[in-house]
Symmetry: none
Subunit: 186 residues, 4 copies
Amino acid sequence: MTGARLAGAQRSREALLSAAAAVFVESGVQAPVRTVAERARVGVGTVYRHFPTRADLVSAVYRHQVTECVDLAERLRAQPVRPVEALELWVAAFLDFLVTKHGLSDALRSEDPALANLHALILDELVPACDALLRAGQDAGEVDPDVAALTLLRAVGNLAVLGPGYGRAEARAMTVRLLAGCRTSP
Amino acid sequence: MTGARLAGAQRSREALLSAAAAVFVESGVQAPVRTVAERARVGVGTVYRHFPTRADLVSAVYRHQVTECVDLAERLRAQPVRPVEALELWVAAFLDFLVTKHGLSDALRSEDPALANLHALILDELVPACDALLRAGQDAGEVDPDVAALTLLRAVGNLAVLGPGYGRAEARAMTVRLLAGCRTSP
Amino acid sequence: MTGARLAGAQRSREALLSAAAAVFVESGVQAPVRTVAERARVGVGTVYRHFPTRADLVSAVYRHQVTECVDLAERLRAQPVRPVEALELWVAAFLDFLVTKHGLSDALRSEDPALANLHALILDELVPACDALLRAGQDAGEVDPDVAALTLLRAVGNLAVLGPGYGRAEARAMTVRLLAGCRTSP
Amino acid sequence: MTGARLAGAQRSREALLSAAAAVFVESGVQAPVRTVAERARVGVGTVYRHFPTRADLVSAVYRHQVTECVDLAERLRAQPVRPVEALELWVAAFLDFLVTKHGLSDALRSEDPALANLHALILDELVPACDALLRAGQDAGEVDPDVAALTLLRAVGNLAVLGPGYGRAEARAMTVRLLAGCRTSP
DNA sequence: CATGAATGAGCTTTCATTCAT
DNA sequence: AATGAATGAAAGCTCATTCAT
């Protein structure tokens, strides 16, 4: 009775999330709420019911992906590869995320206080995940100890912003070079 | 009489340019046109007369700064330093520009087709300037021949986007590391 | 089983009435229906089932209080006090009602045709109650015969609207003076 | 050149004021800004240009009328009538204002902090004007010294709220009785 | 040429009301 | 009967852009 309703609500929520993800990719995180609603075939009111503020929507859209990144970091640490290689793999995967959902890097860049949620999420989850990989590399003497996780994340996040003449391949190449520059000089 | 008119018009144009530069630094390139007009002590109509589209204004504002960068590149090439050092100096200076006038990196990043003017300007002037330095380094065997000027410029432009926990110092450090990763492996 | 249902429905209805009364006091009769539903721990649908229009809810909320006023009038008429004194006591009590449940005076003032119910209630019950007291005073030669019950009720209802610099004490004082002005000149 | 523009703007401003006055009478001070704009045959933007907040509009609409009331008070004080009569005349005139522009009494009643302007206006101008008349009556021993100007103004403001069965005539009669109740007992 | 008033589309957000479950 | 998700019409406010003077 209530179950069916709840199931419907859950479906709405998911429809909204995927609609929003798509819209953010196409038009950036600043896209009108109405656009998201239309994409999800839903009234605007429904958007606000599920996500009272736009920031809630943005955060929700990316929370899932952030979590995946965190999980990946953990899996990589368990792999029998050299720490620096794990870091490289992880950063490459992170970049792919960002590049695919280019809305996310917009969101990361934004200083809008309403996105504090999302920023907190990053600080609380992504930074530690990256930090673990980074420290492993530093402890192994492969990575320069001056590199901080947050700084690296933001830098990669920035390198992920594509534009004319600067596509995925370029972003990847630059990220690789940035990481190379983070290794200890032999 | 026409002379006076022209002089007045010229004055307006310059007032607008410096007002816009200031406003862009404070509030980004998206700042309301009205804000620029007020800062220049001029009616909005005047803005539109001189710069029919916002992109015209943005381009004009940064054209001058782009030119300075180009000039710097030429001066550096004449210096008795190793090519890779000249490149590093230039990139550092370019970064400082971007970081100081953070409006510019917004503008560079923007895919707004209306900014085609500005993009063209970069392709036509900034890329060749950078390219000259880059090629010198590559010819000297100091820089990896796979690095393209446009790619490097965009990457540095991206690294220049500041945010919480990622200030000037971090941007500089990351840029240095990126360049380090662009050098030929010994 | 149906009995239980009915009992449940009755409970809902009463929960709604007291929730609405509280909400109206806090936020006025214009408060969102949703607020009332939440206060009553009930779904909005239930509000609409019991009270198809907002006016039904408002009327129901105040019917009970109107009835109390009517009863008081009857009790006062039976008291061994001079008619004009009975009138004064009743008006004072009525004012206290209004001032305490400031939602009611909002409702009385409203010209919203949807509140016709409530207005009818007043005409049918409150006016006659007041009228009886009034006439007694007029018959005793203590109250000016030109004073009409409805007019007096509305005036007192209006005087009950508090605001900055005009609190309960002021409302009471003004009501007393209004009534004094309704007495026959000696 | 600019003069004509200014004249046009002035005309707009006045059109807005009279449109707003009319709309407020018909629908209360809470009427949508858009309604006022339409009534004035003007875009919403124009309303906001002239009156950045709704409160500014409301205040402007009534400022003029408040001033007239104040002027009237001064003229009446100069008349060769007994103080209490002057007070009665003034209150009657004030009531007529309120009753004619019934939006004003809504506005006076409102506790919306955005209307602080208007409230201040009343406290600063209307209260002293009323106070002068009141004190004259009190000094002459005709009016009860316990009556305060603000209280009286609010009470009259309240009595001015019309409704079904309570029209202008009733409001006037009640106001007269209220004032009668404010006189010193002989 | 310069001005700035006017315009109105567009965005966010709220809430009364309906209706499938 | 009860629920609460969904809907969509308002309403407030901002700004890019036009155009009469």
